[in-house]
């Protein structure tokens, strides 16, 4: 998708003015938070598993080249093919080539953020193929011609009334008299419609939550079962995955999977966790005839020797966004690219460039909730700070910020002047406030006073009053 991250402030303002969006965000995020808490509290080993999950991914990342080689060898041994793609264009070309070789017209898709990252749907459509999203949330946003607003709940922002509108517009055979007020009616409609699509499809594309080096298995986790129908019914199955998804063994996958559902939806385990190795075997009565893994780098290997390496531990559970007050205020679309929330604030600048995405790591209070809940213990706030440092080093900050900071720093290095300025400000602001105790307006402080008053200082500084009371301070 075309990024609009540089317009984050305007995107955010639009989102904040949308009352319907606000209602959806409040409801959805609070439910996710509550269920995660309950699931974590119920498992005494949860914190120990987080430590181990982090260690597994750190070990794997440190040996990623070797594990990827093993993974590839195992996929080939199972009769599959691995396609290495350095960038989004390479992955798009690889997928299109596979589809064309299969003579494909219709492509069903399981949920994949990598597919969003490489904008595969647009590419397939431009070449005459019909991609059909089969995850219910993805299907809804596809009909609405929107990107997903959340990595595990793509239609996080959509109300059931809006879903009904989209179905009525898209499903032309739908009887206008049929009520679609209830989620159950909407689900029944989508299920019937998509069942046909599963059977028509020539190619099924899924993502991968994990890749397993020892076995060459790709792993998807779903609740709907759409991923399984996507990969079992068509003759060709394409797995689209980024390189950092690999873990060494099924035992390591078990640890990560214990963390994933609990962190994401608060479930003990998702309904369907599927491990796939290669195409249909000789005696198999069903399953795809061909199995392809499209392995995407797209800037990830370049993070290996940077302070952002640890973001590659991410297992895409979405807990950071569910707990982020900024995401909770503006929703996923405001971020302007595939990965919203704290994860996006760290990953997006790496993938689409700091110039485009510089607002994202800045739009954080560093409240720390994301790091507190991240199952992989990724230090997200520290990484956002690293991006701010790079922004400063590259001179990407607005001039007014740069000059303001420089002026403040000049004073802060000179205690006498710093205190004099504080004394002056304390008096001045007190006088301006008169007896009201607050200032409703202050030149140059519009960012503060647009929505808040500024409480006035007491009038004299602590240091001033302290000096009057005592002398001879020192250790």
């Amino acid at each position: 998708m075309q990024p609009s991250s540089r317009h984050f402030p305007e995107n955010a303002r639009r989102a904040l003015a949308d009352d319907r969006l606000r209602a959806m965000l409040d409801k959805s995020a609070s439910g996710f938070r509550l269920r995660r808490r309950m699931a974590a509290d119920r498992l005494p080993e949860f914190e120990a598993l987080r430590d181990r999950g982090r260690d597994i991914k750190d070990h794997t990342l440190a040996h990623l080249d070797l594990y990827l080689e093993r993974f590839e060898a195992q996929v080939r041994a199972a009769g599959g093919t691995v396609h290495w793609c350095a960038d989004a264009a390479g992955a798009r070309d690889a997928i299109l080539a596979i589809c064309r070789a299969a003579g494909a017209k219709t492509v069903t898709k399981g949920k994949s953020m990598i597919a969003e990252e490489i904008a595969i749907n647009d590419h397939l459509e431009a070449h005459g193929l019909v991609p059909v999203e089969t995850d219910l949330g993805e299907y809804i946003v596809q009909l609405r011609k929107e990107p997903p607003s959340h990595i595990i709940a793509p239609a996080f922002h959509v109300s059931k009334e809006q879903v009904a509108e989209s179905f009525r517009a898209a499903h032309t055979a739908l009887d206008p008299a049929r009520p679609l007020d209830e989620p159950s009616a909407l689900l029944a409609e989508a299920r019937a419609m998509l069942r046909r699509r599963f059977h028509e499809a020539d190619v099924g594309i899924t993502g991968a939550n994990l890749l397993i080096a020892e076995t060459g298995q790709t792993v998807i986790v779903t609740n709907e079962g759409n991923g399984d129908l996507t990969q079992t019914l068509p003759p060709v199955h394409i797995v689209l995955a980024s390189i950092e998804k690999v873990v060494p063994t099924p035992e390591d996958a078990a640890t990560v999977l214990r963390l994933l559902a609990r962190s994401a939806t608060g479930q003990e385990f998702s309904a369907y966790t599927t491990f796939s190795a290669g195409p249909r075997r000789a005696a198999d009565p069903d399953g795809p005839r061909a199995f392809h893994v499209v392995l995407l780098d797209n800037g990830r290997s370049a993070l290996m020797d940077t302070e952002f390496r640890e973001v590659l531990r991410c297992i895409r559970c979405g807990a950071c966004m569910n707990h982020c007050p900024v995401y909770g205020a503006v929703g996923g679309h405001a971020y302007g690219w595939v990965y919203p929330g704290p994860l996006g604030a760290v990953l997006d600048p790496a993938l689409i460039g700091l110039a485009e995405a510089k607002h994202l790591p800045n739009a954080s209070t560093f409240c720390g909730r994301c790091e507190e809940v991240c199952p992989m213990r990724i230090p997200l706030p520290a990484m956002m700070r690293h991006w701010r440092r790079r922004e400063a080093e590259q001179g990407l900050q607005p001039a007014v910020t740069r000059r303001g900071l420089a002026l403040w720093a000049w004073f802060a290095r000179r205690p006498a002047l710093y205190h004099a300025a504080a004394r002056l400000a304390a008096r001045l602001l007190r006088r301006l406030a008169r007896r009201s105790g607050t200032l409703a307006m202050l030149p140059g402080a519009g960012g503060w006073t647009r929505h808040r008053d500024l409480p006035a200082p007491e009038g004299r500084t602590f240091r001033e009053l302290w000096a009057e009371r005592r002398t001879g301070d020192g250790p």
Partner: protein
């Protein structure tokens, strides 16, 4: 008798000297001798969070040199205390001379209420405060320093005080240093949610341990015309609340 260096913080110095005096009283009541070293300015957090590591390091070195002679450094702010305790050692990690000094100072630096309870073992205060209060957990204090039960323990010992917890006490108020002026609309949504949670408790006063959050919350409540009083927790614990109007109140 521990010799305590009080790191006042910029906001307390400029906006709310009462908090500084409240800290001094609480520390002295607990048997400390308190000094306020001249030459202290800012801990450097604004520079650190803006990615200006050079400036942040300079200010860190200044602060370390100024405070390393004390038995303890006490800060009436979880955010500034967190800067010294957590971020100084990482900022100066590559500096062979300053890294050990940063680590030593970090180990001896404490947020005020945490110092009173966790280090000095203070279990009760003698203050009185008649009314219902609610307590906002500031992000850095809560998540960087693990301060949650300590202020509640001391508040429970204040005569006449009833604590009414708000929903999601640890939700960020939307201050975030320069965040609140860089993204004022998002910050407003956050502080509006916080103000609503505060009002829903029916408490007459909201307390917190960080002046940044308090100015933000007081400014929002004032703009909304709310009568809820806003104070630093140290004001109530020290018994100094009676002598000074709440933050942003009419005088």
């Amino acid at each position: 008798m521990p010799a305590v260096g009080l790191f006042v913080t910029c906001l307390v110095d400029l906006f709310r000297p009462t908090v500084g005096f409240a800290a001094v009283r609480l520390l002295e009541d607990a048997g400390c001798t308190v000094a306020v070293p001249d030459g202290q300015t800012c801990c450097g957090q604004p520079a650190h969070n803006a990615g200006e590591r050079g400036t942040a390091r300079d200010l860190a070195r200044r602060t370390i040199a100024l405070f390393e002679g004390f038995d303890a450094v006490v800060v009436p702010s979880g955010s500034c205390a967190g800067m010294i305790r957590v971020h100084y050692p990482e900022l100066l990690a590559d500096d062979p001379e300053w890294a050990p000094r940063a680590r030593r100072l970090a180990a001896r630096t404490h947020e005020l209420v945490s110092y009173l309870t966790d280090v000095l073992g203070v279990a009760a205060v003698t203050a009185r405060h008649d009314g219902a209060v609610t307590y906002h957990d500031s992000c850095s204090g809560l998540r960087e320093l693990g301060i949650r039960e300590q202020p509640r323990r001391l508040l429970a010992s204040v005569a006449g005080l009833e604590l009414r917890e708000m929903a999601d006490t640890g939700a960020c108020c939307g201050f975030g240093g320069t965040f609140c002026v860089k993204y004022p609309d998002i910050s407003d949504r956050m502080v509006a949610d916080k103000a609503a949670a505060i009002a829903a408790t029916g408490a007459d006063t909201v307390l917190a341990g960080d002046l940044g959050c308090l100015l933000n919350i007081a400014g929002k409540l004032s703009r909304d015309g709310s009568p809820i009083a806003v104070r630093h927790v140290a004001e109530v614990l020290s018994g100094l609340a009676g002598g000074t109007p709440p933050i942003g109140a009419r005088t």
